[in-house]
């Protein structure tokens, strides 16, 4: 009967091999643990405290999903298969070896069929591993994609893991070559390799000696891998899952934390390592340098100074340089922001969240970037245009520097007049937003929105001059105090109004009203106008009978889609207008930012010859065969894309429309034909 033999072919000359093996492994494990502790303690000794222990079941769920099944890693085919092949192979090897240990010391299980299955599985995963490793070698040395860090650290790690697996395979095959058991085919790869050894005609004793050599080498490489793991690139095997476990639990990036304060109630700014949370320091060590964030980043794509990967790695680098000295002495850490992470990098971020969405180990780049921006703002390090916008927001409640009394100027021509929510109860409070209210190119669209609402019999009103900028982008700029000021005013105004739910034009307002205003126990239903339209159409209150019959594509606004998961409502509305929707390569959660988010719309756009994010995006839309219209549902997108169509020379190829224009046109042709 097939049975597993402990330490086959290992001589007992100097005592039981088990003693050597376990001593060696135990020592390696101790070294690993100590080295890891020395590194990991820096996180909590240097970083700020932050509680991340709540909702354990959700955290364990994430651990399984992201660290073991690795759904995010699998999001990209080639690197996903490559990584998962190697990672899962090692999971299996680890479990298999564990089983063998149990078998030899505690409970004999690897006898008969279970043993044969064990061999088959282990051997199969060797094949799986070889495929993954082969892909890795090809990727690292032939493909060499720009996003990868092509340093020797990764090469070294790859060599180590390949040697471990080859060492195991070699040992097995040599054993099989000598043993030649009847069930050898249950280890197909090992047995094929064994046949090579047999074909050399070497004697059993020679092969046994080779086996001993291979076995020792295998053992030593495993030990070496364990010992070097905490200082090499394989560290992510530990830090990745830990980072996943402690990741933020509310919406991915929709709600930012307020500025932390110290015991004296003074704000703590993220200018140095000490200003970051322990979790943010952990993120530095958890980064696998895969570069998915870099590839997804609109700022990076447009040649801006930002690379999200480098921001995270700068934290790691700083901790590596300064961490130890910070423990020994109570010394002030070196400046991080402005030195290792430059102002321009931080200001380039559109807070679109693409990096966060892509990261396989759930690093939260945007939160860290906003934390650092808060420091810059507090230090007065903002560019002239942003300063103007912020001053205007502080003084007038809008970034346009116009009087609040002009906010509802666009309503002048509308009949019947729009209700003032402050004076009468309505079903929907329409939070119009700055751009839709003040921007000369947008007020027509805002007017159209109001007309569509009126046609559908929506009982709605607006706040007129009582509305202030919602503060979403103010907060993401890092001007937390101004954000508080604006929210306080809006909340106070809205508290005196009677309404059932809020509708917004701007996805940015939508995000903060929904996720951040509610943080103060101010729960209310918030709808984006596309959601309301969808409801109205479904309920038959808005009837779009004519069919536009053109091919359009839809751009998911970051703050509507990726941040809040509203993907289907606008698509259903487009469908209702009778347009054929053709998706861009990057759609839904993979949407590509127009470049205006996170307050970028208020900042200086350095005129270089690089293509801006909005230009890249409209080109993506224009490249779709037969598509004439790019539909979006965000005022800022509209401004950015319309401009980009001109600057990219795509006039005549594609036009940009707000969803409401599409709906309005359909309604108008209803009237003509009906």
């Amino acid at each position: 009967m097939p049975e597993r033999v402990d330490f086959w072919g290992i001589p007992n000359t100097w005592g039981s091999p088990a003693i050597y093996v376990y001593t060696l492994m135990f020592l390696a494990a101790i070294i690993l643990a100590v080295r890891f502790y020395l590194r990991a303690r820096l996180w909590w000794r240097v970083g700020r405290r932050e509680a991340n222990w709540d909702n354990l079941h959700v955290r364990i769920g994430r651990l399984i999903k992201y660290a073991i099944v690795q759904t995010k890693v699998l999001g990209q085919r080639y690197p996903g298969v490559m990584h998962v092949a190697m990672a899962w192979a090692f999971f299996v090897f680890f479990l298999g070896t564990g089983l063998a240990t149990i078998d030899s010391h505690f409970y004999k299980i690897l006898v008969g069929t279970p043993y044969l299955l064990h061999k088959l599985v282990m051997d199969s995963f060797t094949v799986v591993f070889v495929i993954g490793a082969g892909m890795a070698v090809y990727r690292r040395f032939i493909q060499r994609p720009r996003r990868l860090t092509l340093s020797s650290g990764f090469t070294w790690s790859l060599i180590l893991v390949i040697l471990i697996v080859l060492g195991g395979l070699l040992t097995e095959s040599l054993r099989l070559a000598v043993e030649k058991p009847a069930w050898a085919w249950w280890s197909p790869v090992g047995w094929l390799m064994a046949k090579i050894w047999i074909s050399t005609g070497a004697s059993d004793s020679t092969l046994t000696a080779w086996h001993l050599g291979a076995w020792i080498a295998h053992l030593l490489i495993v030990a070496a891998t364990l010992i070097t793991l905490p200082v090499g690139t394989l560290l992510h095997i530990l830090t990745g899952p830990i980072n996943v476990f402690f990741s933020k639990l509310d919406q991915p990036t929709g709600r930012l934390a307020p500025i932390p304060t110290n015991a004296k109630g003074e704000p703590i700014y993220a200018s140095t390592l000490r200003g970051l949370t322990w979790k943010q320091l952990l993120e530095g060590d958890a980064c696998t340098e895969c570069g998915r964030c870099q590839e997804a980043c609109p700022a990076f794509a447009a040649g801006k100074p930002l690379n999200p990967k480098q921001v995270i790695l700068a934290v790691r680098e700083a901790l590596r340089q300064d961490g130890m000295s910070l423990l020994v002495k109570d010394k002030e850490p070196a400046i991080l922001v402005g030195e290792k992470i430059k102002d321009e990098e931080l200001w380039s971020c559109t807070t679109c969240g693409a990096c966060v969405r892509e990261c396989p180990v759930l690093i939260e780049h945007v939160d860290a970037i906003v934390d650092m921006r808060r420091y810059l703002v507090n230090d007065g390090r903002v560019d002239a245009e942003l300063q103007d916008a912020l001053s205007n927001l502080g003084r007038y409640g809008n970034s346009f520097g116009q009087s609040e009394r002009m906010r509802a100027k666009w309503t002048q021509s509308i009949q019947p007049p729009i209700k003032d929510v402050r004076k009468e109860a309505v079903e929907y409070l329409w939070f119009v937003g700055d751009y839709a209210s003040y921007h000369s190119a947008l007020t027509n669209i805002t007017l159209k929105t109001a007309q569509v609402f009126q046609k559908a019999g929506v009982n709605f009103g607006i706040l007129y001059d009582g509305e202030r900028n919602s503060g979403n982008d103010v907060r993401r700029v890092g001007e937390e105090g101004l954000f508080e000021l604006l929210t306080e005013k809006n909340i106070a105004t809205m508290a005196k109004c009677e309404y059932r739910a809020i509708i917004t034009t701007d996805p940015h307002s939508y995000n903060t009203l929904k996720n951040e205003y509610s943080a103060n126990g101010n729960h209310q239903q918030v709808l984006h106008y596309t959601e309301l339209l969808d409801q109205l159409i479904t309920a038959g209150k808005l009837q779009l009978n004519t069919r536009q019959g053109i091919k359009v594509t839809y751009h998911d606004p970051c703050y509507l889609g990726r941040y809040n998961g509203v993907y289907d409502a606008p698509r259903r509305v487009i469908e209702a207008t009778g347009c054929e929707l053709v998706e861009m390569p990057r759609h839904r959660e993979r949407t590509f930012c127009c470049g205006a988010g996170g307050g970028r719309i208020w900042m200086e756009e350095k005129s270089d010859n690089k293509e801006r994010p909005a230009e890249i995006r409209v080109r993506e839309a224009a490249d779709l065969p037969g598509v004439s219209t790019l539909v979006t549902a965000c005022p800022k997108d509209l401004v950015m894309f319309r401009d980009a169509v001109k600057t990219a020379g795509l006039e005549g190829k594609i036009i940009v429309k707000d969803l409401i224009e599409l709906v309005g046109e359909t309604l108008e042709s209803n009237e003509v034909t009906g």
């Binding site: 300063q387 003084r395 009394r405 001007e479 105090g481 101004l482």
Partner: protein
């Protein structure tokens, strides 16, 4: 070294300005007061001087609506001391303001007083030179840069055409700021809010306000569009076409 900055608030021109029923003053119902932008530059210049030479920087402002915010903001930028002159300053002219401010500023024994070179509602001269004479100090206006040395300052005075005159001014003196050496800095709202908790505004009462020396307004009005431009309307395309027509007419095309 003591540096004092005198600041006043002026009507915000972003708002539509209307004349009240009396016909001789602006309608305060719709009026928003904001810092005189030249005074904002004066504060910035003061902060720059403090950063360069470590002087004691005091901001002085009359007590009108919004002055506390203005003072706390200045403090957040780096001012050491804040003084609010008590009194009814609504609609008061610059002669009265200068006399009241002089009484307060004299007590500070300043080496240098700076203030905005002008304000949009000056009708009886700008505050700076009025204040200078009340204090018996020399005055130079249209200044866009200051270097301090022992007992003396060198001021960059702007003349038309981009010409700069470097003036030697014996201290103590009053300088009227046209522009600070760098644009006024941004100060975060949370920083101002923090300052509100810690900084204090010293209140000083001025002697009775004495407005003599200014004119009496008989009538205030919005300028009639007697010579208003011929307005071109229409879509961007139509307007552009008409403008090209005008260019051709004028012979530049």
């Amino acid at each position: 070294m003591n540096v004092a900055v005198l600041v006043k608030l002026v009507p915000d021109l972003v708002e539509e300005l209307t004349v009240d029923a009396s016909g001789v003053a602006l309608d305060t119902a719709w009026l928003r007061l904001i810092i005189n932008e030249f005074d904002d530059h004066a504060i910035e210049q003061g902060v720059l001087l403090k950063e360069r030479s470590g002087c004691q920087l005091t901001i002085v402002a009359p007590d009108v609506e919004g002055v506390d915010d203005l003072l706390f903001t200045a403090s957040a930028k780096g001012a050491d001391k804040l003084i609010k002159i008590k009194g009814d300053f609504n609609g008061v002219n610059n002669h009265a303001l200068a006399r009241a401010a002089a009484a307060v500023i004299k007590e500070l024994h300043p080496d240098l007083v700076i203030t905005g070179v002008q304000a949009n509602n000056d009708l009886d001269g700008s505050v700076g030179p009025l204040l200078a004479e009340c204090l018996g100090m020399p005055y130079v206006g249209y200044v866009s840069g200051i270097t301090l040395s022992e007992g003396k300052s060198r001021a960059r005075k702007e003349y038309p055409g981009g010409l700069i005159a470097e003036m030697d001014v014996i201290l103590p003196a009053v300088l009227g700021i046209q522009a600070a050496e760098q644009p006024p800095r941004y100060v975060a709202v949370s920083k101002v809010r923090q300052v509100m908790k810690t900084a204090s505004i010293e209140e000083q009462s001025a002697p009775a306000l004495e407005p003599s020396g200014g004119p009496t307004i008989g009538r205030m009005f919005q300028p009639e569009a007697a010579a208003h431009a011929t307005m071109i309307t229409g879509s961007a395309d139509e307007v552009a076409t008409k403008l090209v027509g005008i260019f051709k007419e004028l012979g530049v095309l």
